[in-house]
Symmetry: C2
Amino acid sequence: MENFEFQNTTRIIFGRDQSARIALEAKKWAGRILLVTGKGSVRRSGLLKKTITLLQNEGLDVWNLSGVQSNPLLSKVKEGIELVRENGIQAVVAVGGGSVMDTSKAVAAGAVLTNGDVWDFFEGRQEIKDALPVLTVPTIAASGSEMNGFMVITNEKTGHKLATGSRSTYPKVSILDPCLTFSVPADYTAYGGVDAVCHLLEPYFNAPAPHTPVQDRLAEGLIETIMKSTESCLAVPDDYEARADLMWGASLALCGLTKAGVGEHHFPVHLIEHSISAIHGIPHGAGLAALLPGWMRWRVKTGHPEKIAQMGRRIFKLESSGLPDAGSSRRQELLAMESIATFENWLSRIGCPSRLMDIGIKADSHEAIAQNALQQATIWGMERQYDKKTITRILAYC
Amino acid sequence: MENFEFQNTTRIIFGRDQSARIALEAKKWAGRILLVTGKGSVRRSGLLKKTITLLQNEGLDVWNLSGVQSNPLLSKVKEGIELVRENGIQAVVAVGGGSVMDTSKAVAAGAVLTNGDVWDFFEGRQEIKDALPVLTVPTIAASGSEMNGFMVITNEKTGHKLATGSRSTYPKVSILDPCLTFSVPADYTAYGGVDAVCHLLEPYFNAPAPHTPVQDRLAEGLIETIMKSTESCLAVPDDYEARADLMWGASLALCGLTKAGVGEHHFPVHLIEHSISAIHGIPHGAGLAALLPGWMRWRVKTGHPEKIAQMGRRIFKLESSGLPDAGSSRRQELLAMESIATFENWLSRIGCPSRLMDIGIKADSHEAIAQNALQQATIWGMERQYDKKTITRILAYC
């Protein structure tokens, strides 16, 4: 285990019909609230109107930043910062998915920045040192943004989709109400499951520390539960228990717990996917699904089959009978390849792509994707391990 | 999954030789420090002198409350409160095991109580609403006190060993340095492992919620890792990786994570053990080890074999070939009994008792233990499920 620091200060309120508590929680932090919401479903479902009424009934003044889209845009963040500054807003409440939560965090951090532009945070020119309090009510189980300090924003002028984060942008309170996710469509339910699994798989496979049994077991337990509950949610969309498992599993997947102690690692699949969705407008989870099996095959072929084989044994209960001798690298490789095939079957069962061609991305796009990803890799400080040649090779495996 | 709230604000600094950072961390919170320590080892190892020097080199004024014993006493807590009040002390630093950390929390909460006695918190007459900041440097992996708000104190006048807790008594910072645990003797290393496993097993077996796959998988992963790493620590006491796994596993075991969502549950083994150690002066972990297999047998015989069987299948990889039909209650019972036997073998391998007779407690003591436990059960609000008859019956199984 490597040395680490861990702290997650977000207070979680979890359960059936808990979302109405947002008004009382928001009141503890502020009198003037920016309510951030997405494009359509929050309005159609009546959740927007209900939330505004709840907040106003508690005597809060509410401004609504609406219309946040998937792969959320910097222009919308700036619109929110303007609203906050003009109206002396003191806290940001996000009701929506990862894009809405990420936009809220960026607004909360950008609004208190006095010397510079909010995009400085994403390009690494400034660190976030302070932010308005953020409270979230997620409406989909996916990003885990409700229980961490990260945010991902797309600068539509440069075509860069970049991530940043800080201690100040951990939500103060997140209310996780699985009932709010009953109406998430099948495709986005599946993409959410893939996103959460990917948050676990990247540190699990990439960990430089050779000995991390605590972290491995935690990650494996969450991966298994998220995979199963995603299928159950698709079979019965209003299965409360399945939605609850998926929601809590997705939050824990990126709360920092399974990463703490595994050593410095990167998120290459997220890196490459950000470029794909920035260029091609693909939903994040679909892009991840199209990349994951290929990335795993690349890992096996470049000499790292161990953890993928371990996933096969422990999660998929793959037997090694009929395989070469225990401990041999050939056996590890065969088990790993069977593990990848099992994972692909899951993707197929939940209606997700598993290759780039499934989302219409052909070899002639690889160059542009790799070029964009390289720029982001440089900002993330991973350009040495993930140079353009490596990214192109990974894309070829996908 | 049941509705729940979860928040754990403790900042963890984990790793090799990190304990020296305590002075800089303490300085963030206070200029006048109460350093709480135990009886002998902290002095013999030089850690006490080293810590005082570190704190003083940062310009901090240090008072030492030393000599905290296992099953820590209320009189020592009161001595600490006096020291704090007389000297305007602003923060409490615990360097030691669970007893030292629990004493520190009780001092921190008691020192700011203006109307009443610190024992009021334990008997439920007052709630802890505020406390001085507590920082911990644990020297043994066991109680998990470094990452929660709980404390257990024995009132030597009444013979009651009672627990309380609050949001205010979560340590602000805990520095987990596995190297500090290299010198923990074999018996206490084993008792620590048993304590941590017991913190996981009680909510795991007692959960009223029928469907808790996220919590089950997390608990199973931690139980398995703690069991294995305890054995590795006994084999090679300065095996850093094993000590690290045991230390982080023990902290996570009672950080609230595996309990969140399982519904209201009790800690009957801890309840009964507190009475045993209060009356007989047995080390906490030894008492738990002597009770656990009997408590499990009692659960099987009173119709709750499922989770114990699940532990057998998932952690001990017990096969069910040769057993009656899947799903039959007889099969569950047989698997559960085999699971208990496997657990007993582990206790025996790590040199722990597994029956009350192993720690010299005979049937003629059961009455007094049950009487004491019942009083505590009443304070914990579990006297209906754990009346004297039930406690006596559990003791008979042990």
